[in-house]
Subunit: 230 residues, 2 copies
DNA sequence: TTTTTAAGTGTGCGAAAAACACTTTTATAT
DNA sequence: ATATAAAAGTGTTTTTCGCACACTTAAAAA
């Protein structure tokens, strides 16, 4: 069975995991100082090779969890990159994903261990190989995805306020949004639950917490109600 | 240099090429009777393995041209699929693309040689492995892409009529469009050139030929004019 | 009790999308 | 020559949606 394709070339397949988080009105990406040659010490995304007995999804979840300590994370595939000489270390096909995590769940201890740091996406600068392109493509994908699907909530804690949510979308789209229009539209969709408690950390008055009702959203989608996002 | 990653597993990497064409108001996909085991004789998309010294793009162009005789084809990547057991013939990562071709350029002689046939996308039915999912994902991608980019023209000859173009978009979106609204919108964009000649093949009156002016479109995009499609 | 600061709230206008039906052209049939 | 048939071509009205816009409220701190 495993000999059927025996004459074909076999290649290294890597996954690269772009870990994104949101804090203080900014989107941040986890950047690592690369541990191996070539380009040891260079600023890099988190990558790893796909093993014979794991799927792409399993591989990227493994790599992501290794650097963040967070499991069961929302991920999207950006695409596969396969130029012959994209990696001077060898012929490597790279499949790129981005992961959206709640930064509060990030395991800070892993930061020193792996030499990672959170960098505001506005200030990332150059990265090794074609990683800068991976990041740009991922952010482009995220913007498209955010406009039609409720993916942003994965970057927030379970309970969040409307000002927080607005600043998240402002960070994703890199432009200011009108407060009244934003609130009107997001509340009209009917997938946010207002809670009784307030977050007082950023104002005297405090802002009510909300929660995303995924069950209701899924139900609406299943029944053909079109729920387009912001 | 090539020994740097020597301990890592190497995998088979395939490209699958979904060849789409348009004729008689219908979108068709090229389906092949598979030549090799396993699943020899099954209804399949066109695939091939990526060689050590070719990029993904080169591989898929090679595979596509082998079955259609058409080169320099518009292609889009759909994604990479990497479940461990997706192919009973071995551990294969598949990177899926779709190609949009003008069916008039298709080399009919290759049809018999490779046992291919054009099938209306409405009547494709079951395919081997996860190819049915590849096709569904590709069509989804094509719909999104068509709404924002002028990709449909790749499915038409250089000269086409507005009724043809409309029926193409109707096929892509699988719904009827209003003739007046369609024509108004597409002409207002200012990227179609009306020619003097008429196509008389489908009506007594005849319909004027048009041509897509890619240079003008690119110029408009470069200068920030947003040209959204239908 | 005054001040400060962010949270919260409603309306009106303009542009774009969607609905809608008749006229024109011309080959073919009578 | 005239009638017919069949698809191409053409504008206007209505509706919807996005976008601009400014004041009030709550509550801690001074």
């Amino acid at each position: 069975m495993t000999l059927l394709y025996s004459k074909e070339d076999r290649l290294l397949v890597a996954v690269d995991c772009i870990v994104l988080g949101f804090q203080d009105k900014e989107i941040n990406v986890l950047i690592v100082k690369r541990k191996l040659n070539p380009l040891k010490g260079g600023r890099s995304l988190m990558g790893g090779f796909v093993r014979k007995n794991e799927s792409l999804n399993e591989a990227v979840a493994r790599v992501g969890a290794g650097y963040t300590g967070v499991e069961n994370v929302y991920m999207e595939q950006v695409g596969a990159y396969g130029e012959v000489n994209r990696d001077p270390g060898g012929r490597v096909i790279s499949v790129v994903y981005y992961a959206l995590i709640d930064m509060h769940r990030f395991d800070e201890q892993l930061k020193d261990r792996h030499n990672t740091e959170w960098v505001n996406i506005k200030n990332v600068g150059a990265l090794i190989l074609d990683h800068r392109r991976f990041l740009d493509d991922a952010l482009h994908h995220l913007r498209l995805q955010s406009a039609t699907h409720p993916v942003g909530f994965n970057l927030l804690p379970e309970r969040f306020t409307l000002p927080q949510l607005q600043s998240l979308y402002e960070a994703i789209y890199a432009r200011d949004l009108d407060k009244r229009n934003f609130r009107k539209k997001i509340l009209e969709m009917g997938v946010l639950e207002k809670l009784d408690e307030k977050d007082k950390s950023s104002s005297k008055r405090g802002a009510f917490y909300y929660r995303f009702n995924k069950e209701k959203y899924d139900y609406m989608v299943k029944n053909g109600v079109d729920v387009s996002f912001i």
